[in-house]
């Protein structure tokens, strides 16, 4: 047993508003500079839709992630050796058109224009060339089903739906959307780390955060190809790749990442998970149908005496163990089993899990009259507008049973709470729903409390970073105390 600790996250999609505050919190701090304009370490996508960069999920195009090869896995498009062959002509790399050409406006015109015969306006200009341009795409072009004929209707996750089924999803009676916020998954089996020819990408031992060393990066960009989530970006100004750093300067000081801090939907949770690194290869290379179960089996119970014993041997701090026992991620993912990783079939073992969205009940149309009645207060989850198959393609490598069970659990919690708070749903009905989802009333209450009532400190349980110990490996911590901050800031430069 090789126990490691990993900061992991849960995003509760039923609560996501799609406001993008997270994206901007991140951007303001980290990517608001030349060369990074188009980087959205955190972005929010409307589903159905094609996301950012466009169609990123389609690995037939981008060849990201791992594929099963016998009892192991290999990088789909950007293995170190395979990668070397394509170093100078990487056809799988997304190009500017998959992202967008960043732009600004000639705002100065408003203040500076000489008197003329018409009103001045600020025209858009390219941030790359400085020339006039008409923006044709952006990081969120299909927001709220905008441009649905081009984007939503071409969502890759409709792959096993018939044309009739697909079309029905764009009629009033079935139409729906939800939001999918995405950051780097800080994977347990990160393809970007495996693909880097320079060894510039690493996973931090203490928290599992995946980082790109801005001094070592040599601009090979194989990480960009390898990441199936397209969460590594190439900075065209510095010539280095960059990605979400999970706000480690904040994590290290006990503050949550900016995107999570700023989440006004209160959908985000963060905590530490223990896992057994010995099982990574086996887990990543199992059959598709076992992916979810096996990934969940990787995580170790911090209350288990054997785990505690081995954690001590692995040098995991007591404070980390304590945090692991309070981890909201552990509760959602392991204890309650209501959160799933995004596209487990990419086999990177992501550390970000999603609680599924409940959606409005399906309606029907007759003679132009819209009917949305249901047999019960909330209807059955199977009558939700987006088909299980679609959600399964996103979150469970196609397994609709897992999806249905989670949705039923979430609904059972609602029925239980309705019964408890109003009584117009009978106790018997609520109990039978809980039972069929294998939940006690205590569990249902706990799910409800963490979903609805949790305060900041309950949603985010950050293990202490013990920076003093890390610093001590380089110099006396006292010396750092005396010296830190003095010196000249060096900017990363091309080719260093």
């Amino acid at each position: 047993m090789d126990i490691r600790s990993q900061i992991a996250m849960v995003f509760h999609l039923d609560k996501c508003i799609g406001c993008h505050t997270c994206s901007i919190a991140c951007k303001n701090i980290w990517t608001d500079r030349k060369g990074a304009e188009y980087m959205w370490w955190n972005n929010v996508e409307t589903k159905p839709g094609t996301g950012y960069p466009r169609k990123w999920e389609d690995q037939d195009i981008f060849k990201g992630g791992w594929e099963k090869k016998g009892d192991s896995v290999k990088l789909k498009g950007a293995g170190k050796f395979q990668g070397l062959k394509v170093l100078f002509h990487n056809t799988n790399l997304p190009v500017i058109d998959n992202y967008y050409e960043p732009w600004t406006y000639r705002y100065n015109n408003l203040l500076d224009a000489p008197e003329g015969d018409d009103q001045p306006t600020a025209e858009p200009v390219s941030l790359i060339t400085g020339e006039k341009m008409t923006p044709k795409s952006g990081p969120n072009w299909d927001d709220d089903l905008g441009g649905s004929p081009l984007y939503a209707r071409n969502d890759v996750n409709f792959k096993n739906l018939s044309q009739v089924e697909k079309d029905s999803l764009f009629q009033l009676e079935r139409m729906a959307m939800f939001y999918l916020p995405r950051i780097c998954n800080h994977c347990i089996n990160p393809a970007c780390v495996a693909a880097c020819p320079s060894g510039a990408i690493y996973k931090r031992g203490e928290d599992g955060i995946v980082l790109i060393n801005q001094k070592k990066c040599r601009a090979w960009r194989l990480c960009v190809t390898a990441c199936p989530y397209k969460k590594v970006y190439f900075n065209w100004n510095t010539g280095k790749s960059e990605k979400c750093i999970l706000c480690y300067p904040r994590i290290e000081t006990g503050q949550v990442p900016a995107c999570m801090h700023s989440c006004v939907g209160r959908i985000r949770y963060l905590g530490v998970m223990l896992y057994d690194a010995d099982k990574i290869e086996k887990t990543a290379s199992c059959e598709d149908k076992d992916l979810i179960k096996n990934q969940l089996d990787l995580y170790l119970d911090p209350n288990d005496p054997v785990v505690i014993e081995n954690a001590k041997k692995a040098g995991i701090a007591d404070s980390t163990m304590d945090a692991a026992r309070k981890s909201p991620v552990w509760k959602y993912v392991k204890e309650w089993g209501v959160a799933l990783p995004l596209h487990p079939e990419f086999r990177t073992l992501p550390s970000l899990f999603y609680v599924l969205p409940l959606l409005p009940a399906m309606a029907s149309m007759e003679n132009g009259i819209y009917n949305t009645t249901s047999n019960s207060l909330w209807d059955d989850v199977e009558n939700a507008r987006l088909p299980m198959k679609y959600l399964a393609n996103l979150f469970s490598a196609g397994d609709t049973v897992v999806i249905k069970n989670i949705l039923k659990k979430l609904m059972a919690v609602r029925l239980h709470r309705r019964s408890a708070t109003t009584g117009d749903i009978s106790r018997e009905l609520a109990d039978s729903e809980l039972k069929s989802s294998d939940m006690s009333t205590e569990t249902a209450d706990a799910i409800y409390r963490l979903t609805s009532l949790a305060h900041h400190r309950e949603r985010f349980v950050i293990p202490p970073a013990h920076r003093e110990e890390a610093i001590e490996l380089i110099e006396q911590t006292a010396t750092r105390k005396e010296n830190t901050g003095f010196g000249f800031i060096e900017k990363p430069e091309r080719g260093l």
Partner: protein, 1203 residues
């Protein structure tokens, strides 16, 4: 324990300082955003290297009850983008002026050597005036010094006051709650000057007229935490994810606690994803759905089964048991006025007997005069204004009869009108005969009338729907299908779940409603329709219930103390407040383009309902219902002087003189001749708002008639044949405004078109206060950094304007001078009981009595040389006490406490006053003197409420009196407001604020005629407009509305309803121009189109399109989406003209306009009535609203795009 071995050596990991260095910062300061978003979020502003680098939400809100989710974090994608503005290329760094104006002014200044004379010469030369007016909005700005800009402004102010009167100087700044001191700065200056402040809540169409109609309340709603207490939530016209971004979590969290959610929205909006059921009701037709819901509730929960909670609630808290006369009209019976108590012999001599009403006692069968009516509120004897079931005249208890069905003398067949199909039905109403002083009359209860109106068959005979499936008769579930497109089965399920939930939870059903409904022409009726379902199931005044309207950050919590500073009431009474919708309708000449409202409004035919809106305004102004400025076609100073010369010795003498002059025609109301040069508005200050664009309904008419610059309007004038009271000039003036001054931190459209732009400090650079109705905290705005470049806070700018204005006055307008101020009859004053019927003194129907049959006429002495001194000093009127909403309390001791601080006083002559020279001084004065931030004053306010109502409120007075919150406290942590009877929600022990819980639990009446919640509105005007009972009226048809008289569909063009709801990437126009929001959206504000309409128009996603009608045009790109239904398009409110707007292919290839280029003002005249209970003017409280949802336009592809 030991450090886990790194995957690579710690030495290699030293590079990690790269990102750590970025995160490090020097200072964090709490502030918020002074924008009209209703958010009121607390933010931490991060400062590094002396500049603001980013902002993050504060998390330290005090917790409410444990059973409620916390408020953290609050703040949205827009707020977190604000720091961009500080150093952006649109930042206004220095005072700017249009070069054309500066050159002309300087020429005259050189000639005359005097700024005022220079301004005078410039204004008296039509060519020169036209020269700089034509240049408005067309570039040519120049940087000038503060002193130069102030000199021109001071000269224009005094010149205008001297030549025309101070009521030609106007100010517009919206929604004070978002940065209340900045608002107060300008309004205080204006009121000390005698200028006019324009209203905003009604102009923005954010005022829900149904609130004053039903509750006598501007707006009072639950804080968002209370959504979590609801067990059934219906959302309509509000896109919570989009517009209530920091609050919507309470909604999603309630779902997980077992709350059912239903969302009404024609498009699949952001909040629709949270719906258990999404109901795509046809745009603007929500009212029909709710009429049918109420039909089902009445039938099933009031008649078939009489749910005790509903019956008891309806009896006790609504006007349902009140008696109404059944009158004969032509050959049939109709519901008429409420029975007045003094028609009975036994009550004939009582005080205010016209304003007290009648119930019937269940036990004795006697007629009873229930306590709590407006007559009780304004009578000499205090203590009878309450909701106890007592006869106010005898003091004895009783049990009101809700329906006469079991004690009727007779059944009369009363006529009810259904307007959509214009169908009249006679239905049996049980009546009792009353022997009055003048004879016998028939009466019934409002409850019985409601049963008749909704077509509930109780075996009383008449024409009823045969069943729920009867589509031909209102208001069945089948009937509503015609208008809503939603099945009757949906209505039935909804109604049943609604009343079942309300029954088991005792009222925890909630409506959340917003601009998507409030902006329709008949919004008051739609709101009333939904509110009926709430009231009939006991859901108002209950935590988790309520009609929760969130449109505009209207709740200014410390209104008591702030109101005095804002209005200059600490020095002068009264202030000049203008109802904006009627003002813009008249002054921007939109009335000239308007046909008769009776042609598009659905009204019964009678004399009163057939007026053109402009004529109705004249009537409303004369009768004291609505204000209008300028007042007269003569300078008020001159009138006062002439009155004195004619022998007037006192106020009464001046009043008599003015009335005589008006009667003789020697003096005319400006409103009757608005296109006469004497009556123009002249100087316009705009701050904290985008008056020329975002809110400028009829934007192109503003361009033409206010500014005199280019415009895109093509409409014809049509009013000539309709108007009788208003003088028609063959040629409408263009360019009425002499000077437009904009205070701004960014170059928005209003700044772009103004003559002078003054650099205002932004929200991270000044001290201010912020409150909202979305939560119950009070927040500071704080200077994280000092104002950048040459900018100044609004407080300082208006202080400077006051200073230069006083300076100019020393030479040109020295010494005291008399001004005459007209003010309408005001809400929460005795004026509420002044006009029991509509009588026009002007036509001799009654005597002119100021404050009773007509507006007030008050004489005010002004000294223009002292404006500055008064501006910076808190005036002595505060000693007399403060208050609002009819509550008042003494505060002399606290005023004196301010005087004791010798570092913070001012001197005028020998007298000493508390200083409010600095913004923080003014803020601390507001906090010390308000009942929501000072526990002792809260206690005193409750004592006043107890005295008025005769009830014991000791349980809800603040437990700890000795609380006083100051500005530093707010900077340390958000503070929750105190309970105060100024507001109707109770907040004891962390309880979430829900409106009217004070009324329900402590029997405090609503500020209405009866003191109850009103189903029935018996004002004569309402009866004549057919709105006395809740009803459904169809939206005005585009061909009758008159926006498309000239516009012709050529080629592939299509007529669509243009909806302009609040958007995702801006708060009105703010933030919309930031690069961040433009990047995350589509680089501009697109026009959202359905897939079907787009296909038929051969428009592809991202193609350029032109949207146009008679009022103007808008050019943008299409966003084609399946979530938009055919027949509508959405242009989210409010795109600026400042970025990415190409030239229009129409109207001479000029720059295209904006969303408001498609609108023109249409007013609903019955909303102008006054002097009658809750139908009495209050600024932003009562009056017609600037509706815009009923706008239609053509859309077509734009092939040639040029900039």
């Amino acid at each position: 324990m030991s450090w886990i071995k790194d995957m690579i050596s710690p030495k290699t990991r030293q590079w990690e300082e790269f990102y750590r260095n970025r995160w490090q910062h020097d200072k964090v300061v709490r502030s918020t955003h002074g924008v009209n978003c209703t958010g009121g979020c607390s933010w931490n502003i991060h400062v590094k290297d002396g500049i603001v680098v980013w902002e993050m939400q504060a998390l330290d809100y005090p917790l409410l009850e444990n059973s409620l989710p916390p408020y953290e974090p609050r703040g949205c994608q827009r707020g977190i983008s604000f720091s961009w503005y500080l150093y952006s290329p649109v930042r206004v760094k220095y005072p700017m002026i249009r070069g054309a104006l500066l050159d002309l002014f300087n020429d005259e200044k050189t000639k005359t050597g005097d700024a005022l004379l220079a301004w005078q010469n410039l204004q008296n030369d039509p060519e020169k005036r036209k020269r700089y007016q034509k240049a408005r909005g067309k570039g040519g700005f120049r940087r000038i010094k503060w002193d130069e800009a102030l000199e021109i402004i001071g000269a224009a102010n005094i010149y205008t006051a001297k030549k025309y009167g101070p009521d030609r100087v106007f100010g517009f700044s919206p929604i004070p709650a978002m940065s209340m001191m900045s608002f107060a700065a300008g309004s205080r200056f204006l009121q000390l000057f005698g200028g006019v402040h324009l209203s905003f809540y009604d102009w923005y169409c954010d005022l829900p007229n149904s609130f004053p109609e039903i509750w006598g309340e501007q707006t009072d709603v639950a804080e968002s935490a209370d959504w979590y207490n609801a067990k059934f939530i219906a959302v309509m016209g509000a896109n919570l994810g989009m517009t209530r971004t920091p609050d919507v979590h309470f909604f999603s969290e309630a779902r997980h606690n077992g709350t059912k959610t239903v969302v009404f929205s024609p498009d699949f909006s952001m909040v629709s994803k949270f719906a258990d059921q999404w109901v795509p009701v046809h745009a603007g037709q929500d009212g029909a759905f709710w009429m049918a819901v109420t039909h089902v509730i009445l039938k099933e929960a009031h008649v078939n089964k009489q749910v005790p909670y509903f019956i008891e609630y309806t009896k006790k808290y609504t006007d349902a048991p009140y008696l109404v006369e059944i009158a004969v009209e032509d050959d049939h019976y109709v519901p008429a006025r409420l029975l007045r108590a003094n028609i009975l012999e036994k009550y004939s001599g009582i005080e205010n007997g016209d304003w007290k009403f009648l119930n019937l006692d269940e036990d004795t069968g006697d007629f009873i005069c229930p306590s709590g009516s407006s007559g009780h509120r304004w009578q000499e004897k205090k203590g009878d204004w309450n909701l106890k079931y007592t006869d106010s005249e005898t003091g004895s208890g009783y049990n009101p009869v809700l329906s006469l069905i079991d004690r009727k003398d007779e059944i009369l067949q009363v006529e009810f009108t259904e307007f959509a199909q214009d169908r009249k039905s006679k239905r049996g109403v049980p009546v009792k005969h009353v022997q009055t002083k003048t004879g016998k009359i028939a009466c019934t209860t409002i409850y019985d009338l409601i049963m008749g109106q909704y077509g509930i068959d109780r075996n009383l005979g008449g024409d009823y729907p045969s069943s729920y499936d009867d589509a031909s008769t209102a208001y069945t579930p089948a009937w509503q299908e015609i208008y809503t497109g939603i099945s009757s089965a949906t209505v039935l399920q909804f109604a049943r779940e609604w009343y079942t939930t309300a029954e088991v939870t005792k009222g925890k059903c909630m409506v959340i409603i917003g601009a998507g409904v409030n902006h329709w022409y008949h919004s008051n009726l739609i709101y009333r329709a939904a509110t009926m379902s709430l009231m009939l199931t006991g859901c108002i005044g209950v935590n988790g219930g309520g009609m929760n309207h969130y449109v505009g950050q209207e709740k200014l919590a410390p209104f008591d103390s702030w109101g005095s500073i804002m209005s200059g009431k600490d020095w002068n009474i009264p202030a000049r407040f203008q109802q904006s919708p009627i003002w813009h309708y008249i002054h921007s000449d939109q009335w000239r383009y308007d046909g008769n409202q009776a042609d598009y409004n659905t009204v019964p035919k009678n004399d009163f309902s057939s007026h053109h809106s402009a004529d109705m305004i004249v009537k409303a102004v004369r009768n004291g219902w609505m204000p209008f400025f300028p007042q007269y076609d003569k300078n008020n100073f001159t009138i006062a002087t002439e009155a004195r010369e004619a022998g007037a010795k006192d106020d009464k003498g001046i009043q008599d003189y003015v009335i005589d002059q008006l009667k003789s025609g020697a003096l005319k109301y400006s409103v009757t001749n608005p296109d006469e040069e004497l009556n123009f508005p002249r100087v316009w200050f705009i701050w904290r708002g985008n008056a020329l664009l975002s809110s400028a309904k009829g934007h192109e008419y503003f361009m033409k008639h206010y500014l005199g610059t280019h415009h895109n309007e093509i409409a014809d004038e049509v009013a000539k044949e309709f108007v009788k009271e208003i003088e028609w000039k063959e040629k409408a003036p263009e360019g009425k405004m002499d000077l437009v001054v904009d205070l701004n931190f960014r170059m928005d459209t209003s700044a772009l078109y103004s003559d002078i732009v003054l650099p205002a400090a932004s929200w991270y650079e000044k001290a201010d206060l912020n409150t909202t109705d979305m939560h119950s905290f009070i927040h500071p705005l704080s200077p994280a950094i000092p104002p950048v470049w040459e900018s100044k806070s609004d407080w300082e700018i208006f202080r400077e304007i006051a200073r230069v204005t006083s300076e100019v006055a020393k030479k040109h307008l020295p010494g005291p001078i008399l001004d005459i101020v007209n003010s309408p009859i005001n809400h929460d004053t005795k004026g509420e009981i002044s006009q029991p019927s509509i009588k026009d003194w002007f036509t001799g129907e009654c005597d002119p009595v100021p404050g009773k049959s007509m507006h007030n006429i008050v004489t005010v002495e002004r000294d223009y040389t002292l404006i500055y001194e008064k501006f910076i000093s808190l005036g002595p009127n505060v000693r007399k006490g403060l208050g609002a909403h009819g509550i008042s309390f003494p505060c002399e001791d606290f005023y004196d406490r301010l005087l004791q601080d010798k570092d913070h006083v001012t001197h005028i002559g020998n007298e000493t006053f508390p200083s409010i020279k600095e913004d923080t001084e003014a803020i601390n004065a507001v906090l010390l003197l308000s009942s929501v931030t000072n526990g002792i004053l809260s206690g005193r306010a409750f004592t006043d409420a107890e005295k008025n109502a005769g009830v014991d409120l000791s349980k809800i007075k603040p437990l700890n009196n000795d609380i006083s919150i100051n500005f530093n406290d707010l900077q340390a942590q958000p503070r929750r407001l105190l309970n105060s009877p100024l507001w109707s929600g109770l907040m004891t022990n962390g309880r979430a604020y829900s409106a009217f819980t004070l009324n329900i639990e402590h029997l405090i009446p609503w500020r209405t005629l009866t003191g109850r919640q009103h189903f029935y509105l018996d004002h004569e005007g309402y009866i004549q407009f057919g709105e006395h009972l809740p009803t459904y009226k169809p939206s005005p048809r585009p061909e009758l509305y008159g926006d498309l008289r000239k516009t012709i569909a050529e080629g592939k063009a299509r007529l669509l309803n243009v909806l302009t709801p609040h958007g995702k990437w801006h708060i009105h126009s703010t933030y919309g121009d930031t690069l961040r929001m433009l990047t995350l959206s589509r680089g501009m504000e697109p026009c959202w189109l359905s897939e079907k309409d787009a296909e038929e128009l051969e428009i592809k996603d991202n193609d350029w399109v032109e949207v146009f009608n008679d009022n103007g045009n808008y050019c943008t790109r299409a966003c084609v989406s399946s979530r938009i239904p055919p027949g509508i398009c959405i242009i989210y409110h409010a795109p600026e003209r400042t970025y990415s707007v190409p030239k229009s292919s129409r109207n001479g290839n000029k720059r295209a306009g904006s969303h408001n280029s498609l609108t023109r003002v249409h007013l609903k005249p019955n909303l102008m009535v006054g002097g009658y209970g809750q139908f009495t003017f209050g600024m932003n409280y009562w009056g017609p609203v600037g509706v815009n949802r009923d706008t239609f336009a053509l859309i077509k592809k734009l092939d040639n795009v040029t900039f």
